[in-house]
């Protein structure tokens, strides 16, 4: 719906133009993951990628992060071509990705230690960002002493320590129970509010998309194409039971159901 013209792309936080990704391109096992993705993310915008599992939405996140290269198409971030990973685009993973051999503050300031920031400055930064995610007490703890939700908050703090312009989140709350997940969504919105970073958030969870997004980008089943883009222009925190959002939920559910059905049919024809 809110499709901006392609040429505006250079100024936005992230712009993907005609991006496709084929795994093992040129070989027998070639597999199309993404086809012709055009996507703009405005600075400060919260965009949710919604789609069935295995539709390539995580792949798009990896491409934007610079961890993988698109087979064709161009990705820009803040007017610069994405040509590899950079600290200004932080990726937060689904599974816990904290280093078990470092304690919490060392994990949070890991990125700073890579460029030789002195210990005292690192501690200070870690203290600040841990305060922002409400984990000041966990400063000296080890990752295995924390709950799943706390670990993901540390992961967010670690990303924030790099002062990213774009936060890329790959189903970060998928492994958490429902109550923790809802809490984490509220917490993420608070952090986003303060940091002014643009967020690209991948999920297959409709309620999560509705609770968080400025715009929901719905993906088709593999190979991933953009099926629909829906704007949600409502203040947060949102009441998911309000009529407008219920209607949206119905719409997203039917959009997604078609794709899940298609994915299933494809899997069955393969087996």
């Amino acid at each position: 719906m809110a499709d901006t013209p392609r040429l505006n792309g250079l100024a936005s936080a992230v712009s993907c133009v005609g991006v496709s990704k084929i795994w093992n391109a040129g070989s027998k096992r070639a597999q199309e993951a993404l086809i012709d993705i055009d996507l703009e993310i405005e600075t400060g915008e919260f965009v949710v990628l919604l789609g069935p599992s295995g539709c390539g939405k995580s792949t798009l996140l990896y491409l934007i992060a610079g961890l993988e290269k698109p087979t064709s198409g161009v990705i820009n971030s803040h007017s610069e071509l994405v040509n590899g990973p950079a600290p200004e685009r932080s990726l937060i993973f689904q599974e816990t990705s904290l280093f078990p051999w470092l304690n919490v503050w060392q994990n949070v300031s890991f990125g700073l230690s890579l460029c030789g920031v002195p210990t005292e400055t690192r501690k200070e930064t870690a203290r600040k960002v841990l305060g922002r995610v409400g984990l000041s007490d966990a400063f000296e703890k080890r990752p295995d002493e924390l709950s799943g939700g706390m670990r993901q908050r540390v992961a967010v703090a670690r990303a924030l320590a790099m002062q990213p312009k774009v936060l890329l989140m790959d189903e970060p709350f998928a492994a958490l129970d429902v109550q923790t997940r809802v809490k984490m969504q509220g917490f993420l919105l608070d952090v986003w509010d303060v940091s002014k970073a643009s967020v690209l958030f991948v999920t297959h969870h409709i309620d999560e998309a509705i609770a968080l997004a400025d715009r929901v980008v719905v993906f088709t089943a593999r190979p991933g194409r953009i099926k629909a883009v829906l704007s949600i222009d409502l203040p947060r925190p949102r009441d998911l039971t309000s009529p407008a959002l219920l209607a949206l939920r119905v719409e997203l559910t039917s959009l997604l159901r078609d794709e899940v059905d298609r994915a299933f049919a494809e899997q069955e024809s393969l087996s």
């Binding site: 992060a65 610079g66 961890l67 990973p85 950079a86 600290p87 685009r89 932080s90 990726l91 993973f93 599974e95 990705s97 280093f99 078990p100 051999w101 890991f110 990125g111 230690s113 890579l114 460029c115 080890r142 990752p143 295995d144 670690r158 790099m162």
Partner: protein, 311 residues
């Protein structure tokens, strides 16, 4: 060590009757309380085996000349210790009766075998770690070296024995070389496997934070593979002990392998079993030490996840 092995040798008397077993349990009860039931089970395991042996001997099912039971070969410790001669009596101008006392000679023999194992193990661990990392770090080096490593990995250490003697002659050199060569190839391959199985997320996190390739190796891959490598080291420790005996049996002045070899040549079964007990205790102590090291170095691994566990 020697004293303890002699004391453990008291175990076999378990077979003598329930009284002794009861007093044995009484004595060890405090110890068990401190070190957990594991130690108790360990003693029971040894006691059961020794007891069975003693029983078979008692009823006359085993030949004392071939399979002397523990109380005989351990009881004759003082006599057998005389075989542990570390004096260089074959050298010209050395008094045949010179040299350390038998007990001292036992300790020297044990220490020299132990040091050979330690030296070989340390050299192999460090070089294989460097080699594994080098193979994965530099593509070209990997392509050049890996096929050769894979080719040599299955070659039995015994086949290297003549090479060891060609290269290092007689003495500590060939024994240490044998331990090294027995471990180096497999441990290099193990290092590569460990590197390949590092959680991709760890590496991707570092990459998105702007880590260089070198930083990824030193700051992420190295700590991530350490737990697995220590398990590999523990497994190879036993291999090191096996190989050092083979090497010592041939062409090293003295060592536990030489004692076994001599015991075979002089038909002295008691000495064979005594040496086996010593080797077993040394190997066990080593493994225990490595486990302590594992717990120290790998403080971040929750208990029971350190590979082989703590059993």
């Amino acid at each position: 060590m020697t004293v303890r092995s002699a004391k453990n040798g008291g175990d076999p008397k378990v077979a003598d009757g329930p009284d002794f077993a009861a007093s044995l349990f009484g004595q060890t009860f405090e110890f068990i309380g401190q070190h957990g039931p594991k130690l108790g089970w360990g003693l029971l395991s040894v006691g059961l085996f020794a007891g069975l042996w003693e029983l078979l001997w008692y009823v006359g099912l085993v030949d004392q000349r071939l399979l002397p039971p523990p109380h005989i070969f351990l009881g004759d410790f003082a006599g057998q210790a005389k075989n542990f001669n570390t004096a260089k009596r074959w050298e010209i101008g050395v008094d045949p009766n010179s040299g350390p006392t038998p007990e001292m000679a036992v300790i020297i023999t044990m220490a020299s075998s132990t040091l050979r194992v330690l030296a070989g193990l340390a050299i192999a661990a460090i070089t294989s770690l460097c080699m594994g990392i080098l193979i994965r770090y530099h593509g070209v080096i990997g392509k050049l070296v890996l096929p050769m490593v894979t080719l040599l990995a299955p070659v039995s250490p015994v086949a290297w024995l003549p090479v060891a003697i060609f290269l290092f002659g007689i003495g500590n050199g060939p024994a240490i070389f044998m331990v090294f060569i027995a471990l180096f190839f497999t441990m290099t391959l193990a290092t590569i496997t460990q590197i390949d199985s590092v959680n991709r997320n760890y590496i991707n996190v570092a990459r998105t934070m702007g880590a260089s390739k070198r930083q990824i190796y030193t700051r992420v891959i190295l700590p991530a593979i350490l737990p697995g490598l220590l398990v590999v080291l523990r497994l190879n420790l036993f291999a090191a002990w096996m190989v050092v005996l083979v090497a010592e049996a041939i062409g090293v002045g003295y060592g536990l392998g030489q004692i076994i070899s001599m015991a075979r040549n002089t038909f002295n079964p008691g000495l064979v079993y005594l040496t086996m007990v010593i080797i077993g205790l040394l190997g066990f102590t080593f493994d225990f030490g490595l486990r302590l090291l594992q717990r120290r170095v790998l403080f971040w691994i929750p208990k029971g996840q350190g590979g082989l566990g703590s059993g």
